[in-house]
């Protein structure tokens, strides 16, 4: 019943310690992220992180799909009105502050641009890292523009703008329980805002990795994932905006 013996004879790859000679990248099956050079395989790590993000995006999408479905159903539901003895639609409608929302949209789109710059800058840094490690080589003054910080500020600006929009709605007499339309306006925008706030937390974390002197490849993964998530937040907002706009 010897079961342990067979794999003694097979020693492929190495652990994350020691400088063993590298083995060629294994084809087929998967890759546990441990490269032949004894260090973590960041290419695999990035792929893994992106896969995880795809799963996360799928799930948030399902939340908004179900909210949309509820929106459409609720909008179309007739209800019996005793006074007129007939079935009426009580959707109501909401007087949205379009200019303010439009401005917020621009802020968010701008933040998508800035985070994309951050993402590409870090990708470049990773590509150039081996070159930079050669003593004596300089790539000149590098542009260390704080794209991440700007994105965070723009994101916060969006959230503040959303808060202002909610206040404006209150001033116009629309509260969460005024009518089904206003309920959904607050629900959809708040759900999006909560997820965006999570994105800002991720941004702040990404920023701290630079200060904590994490390896540039690790930083790249964090920023890459945060950036894609952030773009998703922008797309989601466009969707919510369009839904509230066209499916009134």
């Amino acid at each position: 019943m010897a079961t342990y013996a067979p794999i003694d004879a097979i020693r492929e790859g190495q652990t994350g310690r020691g400088g063993s000679p590298s083995t060629p990248k294994p084809p087929g099956g998967g890759d546990d992220g441990r490269g032949g050079d004894g260090g973590p395989n960041y290419g695999a790590r990035l792929r893994r992180a992106r896969l995880g993000l795809v799963c996360g995006v799928a799930t948030v999408t399902m939340v908004f799909v179900s909210l949309t479905s509820a929106y459409i159903v609720r909008q179309g539901l007739p209800t019996y009105d005793e006074a007129s003895k007939a079935y009426v639609h009580d959707w109501g409608g909401t007087d949205l502050p379009w200019r303010l929302l439009g401005l917020n949209t621009l802020l968010l789109l701008a933040s998508s641009v800035t985070i994309e710059f951050a993402r590409r800058a870090l990708t470049r840094q990773v590509a150039l890292a081996p070159v930079k490690s050669i003593p004596g080589v300089s790539l000149g003054a590098e542009n260390k523009f704080p794209w991440l910080g700007v994105t965070a500020i723009l994101g916060l600006g969006f959230l503040i703008g959303q808060g202002m929009a909610w206040r404006e709605l209150h001033l116009r007499g629309f509260f969460v329980n005024t009518n089904p339309s206003s309920s959904f306006v607050f629900l959809l925008t708040a759900t999006h805002a909560v997820h965006l706030a999570g994105g800002i937390v991720a941004l702040l974390w990404a920023a701290t990795t630079a200060w904590l002197h994490k390896p540039v490849e690790s930083r790249r993964i964090v920023v890459d994932i945060t950036a894609w998530y952030w773009h998703f937040m922008a797309v989601l907002w466009i969707y919510v905006f369009a839904l509230l706009g066209f499916a009134r």
Binding site: Y4, P26, G29, G30, G33, R48, L51, C55, L77, D90
Partner: protein, 576 residues
Amino acid sequence: MVAMENPHAHAPQGFIRKYIFSVDHKVIGIQYFFLALTAVFVGMFLSLLMRIHLLWPSVNLPIFGVIQPETYLTLLTMHGTIMVFFVLTTAPQGGFGNYFLPIQIGAPDMAFPVLNMLSFWTTFVAFVVIIAAFFVQGGAPLHGWTGYPPLSAVQSAGPGEGLGADLWITSIAIFCVASLMGALNFITTTLDLRAKGMTMMRMPLTVWSWFITAILGLLAFGVLLSAGILLLMDRNLGTSFYVPLVVVSGQVMGHKGGSPLLWQHLFWFFGHPEVYIAILPGMGVASQVLSTFSRKPIFGYRAMVYAMLSIGFFGFMVWGHHMFMSGMSPYSAFAFSLLTMCIGVPSAIKTFNWLGTMWKGRIRFQTPMLYAIGFVSLFVSGGLSGPFLAQPVLDIQLHDTYFVVGHFHLIMGVAAIFGMFAATYYWFPKMFGRMMNETWGRVHFFLTLAGTYAIFMPMHYLGMAGGTRRYSDYREVKYLATLIPLHQFMTYAAIITIAAQFIFVINLFWSMFKGPKASDNPWEATTLEWTTTTPPPHDNFGGVTPVVHNGPYEYGVPGAAKDYVMQTDPATVSTH
């Protein structure tokens, strides 16, 4: 969260990092297992109180006093919720899946170990919140695990529908988030961390089941979360998603125009995939164990994979079969009914294949195998009441009767549990390094098999005779009173069967400390967990990355030295 560097460079030191906030999937798997074990005893206790109340409604119990009708409904609600979420969605996937998915694919851990730890502790918090519902003013809710509004949406509609109901919804929402984190981890791990040679079609069926279950969870739990948020809003913010104009106890409520059916659609869109989440891992374990102990490859591996994929896929299209009587459009009912009959087909294929696996095998009857065989029997019994319920004309008679209760208990409440028993007895040696006691395992098996049939088979008779469900007392309606003898029988069976479960628990804990030491591969099985030490080292394979050459169920290979060929054995058996 992506680990910044290899988390297995050093095994953690210190009690807290090793056992409390561990990121090791094996520790987390055991944590989930014990959470589910706690939950199942809470859930069983609740059902014991329920059955005692049905038989002796006026008896004055110690501590609880006389169980009131509303208390009965609370017990019923919490029994269902705790069992479905904290047992059936926790142990098979979070428990065994967490422990063995990475090992069975040759990985050192899950893709995101820190996220894994977070998903366990979030589940734990959800459990604390739902238990808290018992202790707040008004107590736990009485609206059933299905929580249909307006009963669940109007705070004055019943006792427990105040803070208790809010806690119930909150607990479920937290649970959703925990499950989503887990699902993300499982999917990424399966797709990205397989060892060299471990192609998708060489993965054990257990891995397939955990993978497909995770996909179902990923897509379904988000919908439940939305549904719950809308319910919380209706309850507390005065919105009217689900509640039309209603008068409760003479008071006109402030809602207008909402639709109770909206909740049902959203809930069951989640709820139906949920029941497949509950059973798929059990099916995977059954396949694994049946093959191992028949010393024969699984019959039709590919068909098994396609069947599980179809079950997962169709599982999203049949939710309306819970709503035939709800006032939903009869056209929709017809469509859902047809799709539901379709989903019976892959389930039948799996059953044929399990039988085909044992056919012309050389069956060994250690306890895991007993449970796997029991699983097949119970799955057949529970599954065959499905085609009755799937036909709307028959559902007219059977909806909301004990026929439905019998159907889902046989599948979820027994077959899925037998899957967990099989998994426990099968993997216990690998997890704890000792063997569980065979004799007591057999005693537990026979008592539980006979006992659960005795409890749940009569429910079909009850249902056919019009025996409605969720009644706290059957003496009021004359024709229901004539069915009380059946209830008596079921209660006695339940008392005996619940008592028998202590045999399992004692066996489990005793064996953990005093059981005979286990070898690395006591069952002579082929999958990767059996190639490593018992228990596995911190990084699962002791610094070696396995290389896979064979399929997962190469038993009885003609011409091989032994009657099993491990997946890592380079003497290749090329069939995949």
